[in-house]
Symmetry: C2
Subunit: 412 residues, 2 copies
């Protein structure tokens, strides 16, 4: 029976993570003594505020119990305080602490949609949206946004062409991972009107809310919960506080029947890590000044990278307004092949670069095959070394695999 052990059909079609699937090549390169610049995973490289570790180092109780399933009281209060400072007071019973944004997304999707239903999102998207919908038997429907149009949202009429009787929700990354777009007030209103008109839920993944550049501010969809309660807002400590290892997120919604199911899902997960919650509470309590320098830090990196890449007219992009991601359109035809080849075969002085192929950031067939996502999560100097490797590799690749490409650089 060995090889014929029956597995589920859904396990066969489960999407591999485009962000993580190439890590074995990077590990092999490291094992061979090379240095790898990891631009694949959106893991901020600023220090985790020391405040996180204080309550954890101070924890002296000789017993480590389950935390309450809705969330540790200290964390719930700290989250309320954080959103109060942003201008959005929250009731405690509108909050659920989750294991990262992941569980917040899974809980929300489960509560909103049945197996077989459709969830709309905007392409390109955070690839785990595809994984999470697949876990719940949902179909992720991609509404295209384009680099040419600076990833602006389509018109109400265009969005309506993607509706089916099974459409239950719109999932939006606001500001957008991976495009770096800050949606305008007008765009957000358009989404809310669209949702309201068609009785759809909105799930707003707001992990990058505070990481915006050039003085521009993002608008949280909490601003619309009063006029339309079918809006779920998701937050996490991972990106803002560089605490990815803590796995603490939360979701916010004001609709009682929705939250009742969320609380039950939370109960069946028993509770979220106690120590991580104590640390996260300290993070949410931090006043903004201690983090105020971060947007400028990532903005400066973005500018350095953009400045470097602007010398290559066959590399296209839109300057991100937020987040630490950058989508690139390259003169290639198979970004999976390119990214794999790049980490496997290209180094400069023993240094290599790992980036994310963008095909799985789309569900529309054929899209993203010439695109990659970079996470600009290195200091400026290594970041520019990584860009140098990327451009060098790309030039080699075009010579080898895209020789008839009219965008092929003529120098070398």
């Amino acid at each position: 029976m060995d090889d014929s052990l029956p597995l589920s059909l859904r396990s066969q079609g489960y999407p591999a993570s485009p962000i993580r699937k190439l890590i074995p090549y990077a590990k092999a390169a490291e094992a061979a003594g090379h240095k790898v610049f990891y631009l694949n995973i959106g893991e901020p490289n600023h220090d985790t505020p020391a405040a996180f570790f204080q309550p954890i180092h101070a924890y002296q109780t000789p017993h480590l119990p389950y935390a309450p399933s809705q969330g540790h009281p200290e964390l719930l209060i700290a989250i309320q305080g954080y959103f109060q400072r942003l201008g959005y007071p929250l009731e405690k019973h509108h909050l659920q602490v989750t294991q990262g944004a992941t569980d917040a997304l899974l809980f929300s999707l489960f509560t909103i949609a049945n197996s077989g239903d459709d969830i709309l999102t905007f392409e390109p998207f955070y690839p785990n949206y595809l994984a999470f919908t697949a876990q719940l038997g949902l179909t992720l429907v991609g509404i295209p946004t384009t680099m040419e149009n600076a990833y602006a949202l389509p018109s109400l009429e265009e969005m309506e062409t993607y509706l089916t009787p099974k459409t239950k929700a719109i999932l939006i990354s606001n500001p957008s991972n991976p495009t770096g777009r800050i949606y305008t007030e007008e765009e957000l209103k358009r989404i809310v009107n669209f949702a309201k008109k068609h009785q759809l839920w909105i799930i707003s993944d707001e992990l990058y809310h505070t990481l915006t550049f050039a003085g521009k501010k993002a608008t949280t969809l909490l601003a619309y919960q009063k006029v339309y309660p079918a809006i779920v807002v998701i937050d996490s400590v991972s990106k803002r506080y560089a605490a990815c290892g803590a796995r603490i997120g939360c979701l916010i919604n004001t609709h009682t029947p929705f939250m009742e199911c969320i609380f039950q899902l939370g109960q069946s997960r028993l509770g979220v890590s106690l120590l991580d919650q104590l640390g996260a509470a300290a993070l949410y309590r931090l006043e903004n000044p201690s983090l105020a320098h971060l947007p400028a830090l990532y903005e400066a990196r973005r500018d350095k990278v953009i400045n470097f890449l602007s010398a290559y007219p066959w590399i296209h992009y839109v300057k991100p307004e937020a987040t630490f991601y950058l989508m690139l359109s390259l003169p290639i035809h198979d970004s999976n092949h390119f990214c794999t080849w790049l980490i496997e075969h290209i180094h400069l002085d023993g240094e290599r670069v790992l980036i994310t192929p963008a095909e799985n950031l789309y569900v529309t067939p054929g899209k993203g095959k010439n695109e990659v996502r970079l996470a600009l999560v290195l200091e400026e100097e290594p970041l520019l070394r990584a860009m140098n490797i990327l451009v060098y590799g790309l030039q080699q690749y075009m010579t080898l695999f895209e020789p008839l490409n009219p965008s092929r650089p003529v120098h070398e």
Copy 2:
């Protein structure tokens, strides 16, 4: 629209946790100045070994990154060491670290069964089995075991009567939460033969493997993985090491296609809490002597409780051979009502007791309505006070609600 915001059908039918749903009554009692004995949640009350906290308190890196998605290397090695000491050497690629046993169960069920498939388990069961199967669109099918028969497993022929073309797996708690049974070698072989004969997977939840009494030992189904690889074994630090707040579990299987899907599920969860994993690694490294006293501790409690309850011939039970649970059959007709009434209305000198109604430990209609589950997770003295409240409350309840019950105690 407010009240008519559309939610999924599956959210409506999602089972409330029978273990946790009565907690609000307990909190209300506490708020009124009463003391509550929590016998509802299986949270061991021995100290978490200090080893857990050492690497966490020693963590001085100013950054808290994602742990590798398969698990932190230190933890993987520590788990290998633990099972090596038990006599079961494991390959690293047969292991996935998970957020508690919960994710291990969810990952396994997803990989084995499609929405609409059947999963067999033995009644009474750990109630979250119903929650986890519901999350994945699976039907949990209960095969009865009975107190009268000491919860022994049924014959192969009887198990076969529960098979449908959609049956994909048998989920077993080994030793059993909530019955405390240690399955015999013969019973485990029967399960393996049954699974082999019908191409079913076995998911063996072995959280209580080491918590066995009177010198009896439980057998891990790892012992059968070589002859039948469709066996998934699940472990966790929660119970053995009293580290429920850490949310660290793992699953073990040797079948490559199964593990490939598991690893992808792990990748889409990004990683498990870094600090909790470092602490858990220290726990798995502990040599058995430091925990050797625990079974005797829980065995002594069991004996005190059994000795106390044996004075009431209208309370029935089977003496548990393992775990810290105890199922009671009571002369009542609605254990949900009884358990709610008990916490709400009964106290002795300001002390109350919270226990779990057993109806949701069964899926067979009508079963469990006269049963409750106790988790014996208090020191002996408060445990006996809690038993006293339970029996006092039961006597009151029978007078009030079961006056025609032939089992009604004649005294009072």
